[in-house]
């Protein structure tokens, strides 16, 4: 399985979430906050804190720590509050 994140291709081993893919690739942040434009990545890792949000196939506010990707998913960094495209 293969997805792209911010244009970069990533292979996805079975059973790995989007957050797992990104951390394994050496990234620690992939979102910026709405007020302070501060970087965020995984904090709680189990869907509670909503820090790890990404945009998946144009849909924002997807928790990267919970989402198991599908082949071909286009994932990108979420900047502050975004509307669906």
């Amino acid at each position: 399985m293969r997805i792209t994140v911010d244009g970069e291709p990533h292979d996805v081993p079975p059973g790995r979430t989007i957050a797992g893919v990104l951390i394994a690739a050496g990234r620690s942040s992939w979102r910026t906050t709405r007020n302070g434009d501060r970087p965020r990545g995984v904090f709680c890792g189990i869907g509670v804190c909503f820090d790890c949000l990404v945009v998946v196939n144009g849909v924002p506010d997807v928790r990267a720590c919970l989402r198991y990707p599908a082949d071909g998913d286009v994932v990108r960094t979420q900047h502050g509050a975004e509307l669906p495209t």
Partner: protein, 434 residues
């Protein structure tokens, strides 16, 4: 007789098993794709074939014994709606890490102990290469062990309390079989020469766009920092956990009575609401063995089993003694509020600082509702799950008395966020057949 069990961890699995053995029709609503919950992550558990296991399914609202469920990939707008009517419900929704705020805790690279554990155990992913584990409670030890297994160099494990309290409960530890488990962790940490320091903690994290160092300090018993003991340690990740917070939104939504911040249950696992049972960490933090025993008790009671599960009830009594010792040995010290600086973020979602909270308190906010509206703490995406308890505690410490409505942070009629399109596409009546 239909029993709906919410949660697929040790408590939920045991409840589903007991209820189906007692002859009930059982639906297990599990937010994860594989049964096992947080505890069994990475090693999926077996579910009795008679149990209808609704995987990747989340209960987003409850109306009495009617549950609204969404099933499909996390946060996808294309999840399928389900409405389930139950004759009895067992809430086994578990808990998440409690983390007390400190300067820099909002930097990328600061993880909860549970996050590090989930990524290591469930996905074989290491959150960092040089890591400090800090907090309180025995859970820090398996987290350090999991990190070691995925190749992380664990520099030190910091326990903010002392282990000496446990000396008062030697029989409790032996009775619940925890001594062997502790010995195993001690062995792993010893082999890797990882120091475990007590009365010490990470009290600040440093870095620009991610954590590059932490400040470690020695603590007094109340968790205030001992002057002159601060030292800096270079890390690329830090894992923190100061106990656990129960996931209470469904219990609160159903109107269950809480005691000391947990769902109150009787000896059969029954809550104050007829037909609603609870088991596991929502009723008190005590670990997987106690959760499974409570699940077995609640599941058979919910299914009105003719015989009480004597062995499980005995295990619950034993486990609760361990849980009480856990509370006594690993309190969260009030001196932690002294770790905060004026610009330390307290509410991560809305980026509310300790100073912002103080301003709201100075303006007269003296209850949760006013404090939320005046400071925005707890009004962000996580709905106060991460900061609620800390904001309430910090405000109580500043005001000198507890907030009258501290449980208000658990009131979330939408138990999990839903897209407006999904809300519009919600069936009002249950399906006859799933």
């Amino acid at each position: 007789m239909r029993v709906v069990v919410v949660g697929g961890g040790p408590a939920g699995l045991a409840a589903a098993d007991a209820a189906v053995r007692a002859g009930a029709e059982v639906v297990l609503v599990d937010s994860e794709p594989w049964p096992g919950g947080q505890y069994h992550r990475g090693t999926p558990q077996r579910v009795d074939s008679r149990v209808r296991h609704l995987a990747s399914s989340t209960v987003w609202a409850v109306e009495g014994l009617r549950l609204h469920v969404r099933r499909g990939p996390a946060d996808s707008p294309h999840r399928t709606p389900h409405v389930l009517d139950a004759d009895a419900v067992v809430l086994a929704t578990g808990a998440h890490d409690r983390v007390v705020p400190f300067p820099g805790w909002d930097l990328p690279g600061v993880y909860t102990a549970g996050a590090a554990q989930a990524l290591a155990k469930g996905q074989g992913v290491a959150v960092g290469t040089r890591v400090v584990v800090s907090g309180t409670g025995p859970f820090l030890l398996p987290v350090a062990e999991s990190l070691v297994r995925v190749g992380t160099q664990v520099l030190e494990v910091l326990e903010a309390n002392a282990f000496s309290t446990w000396a008062r409960y030697p029989h409790t530890l032996a009775n619940v079989g925890k001594l062997g488990e502790l010995a195993r962790y001690a062995g792993v940490l010893g082999r890797h020469r990882i120091p475990v320091r007590t009365r010490a903690a990470v009290v600040a994290a440093h870095g620009d766009d991610r954590v590059t160092a932490v400040t470690v300090a020695r603590l007094r018993p109340d968790w205030s920092v001992v002057d002159g003991t601060r030292r800096r340690v270079a890390v690329d990740a830090v894992c923190v956990g100061h106990g656990f917070t129960p996931r209470l939104e469904l219990a609160v939504g159903l109107g269950c009575r809480l005691v000391d911040g947990f769902v109150a249950v009787d000896a059969t696992g029954a809550t104050s609401v007829p037909g609603v049972y609870a088991a596991g960490e929502v009723t008190g933090i005590g670990g997987a063995d106690l959760a499974a025993a409570e699940g077995a008790v609640a599941g058979s009671a919910a299914a009105r089993a003719p015989e009480p599960p004597i062995a499980a009830m005995r295990a619950v009594r034993r486990g609760r003694r361990f849980a009480m010792a856990l509370v006594a040995a690993h309190p969260v010290g009030g001196g932690r509020h002294g770790w905060l600086l004026a610009d330390t973020v307290v509410c991560r979602c809305e980026e509310v600082t300790a100073h912002d909270l103080d301003v709201a308190l100075d303006r007269g906010a003296a209850d949760v509702r006013t404090l939320k509206l005046a400071s925005r703490a707890g009004l962000g995406l996580c709905q106060g799950r991460v900061c609620g308890r800390e904001v309430a505690d910090l405000a109580a410490a500043r005001l000198g008395h507890p907030l009258p409505d501290a449980d208000a942070f658990h009131r979330r009629p939408l138990a999990t966020p839903l897209r407006l399109g999904e809300l519009a596409d919600t069936p009002l009546l249950p399906e006859e057949d799933l």
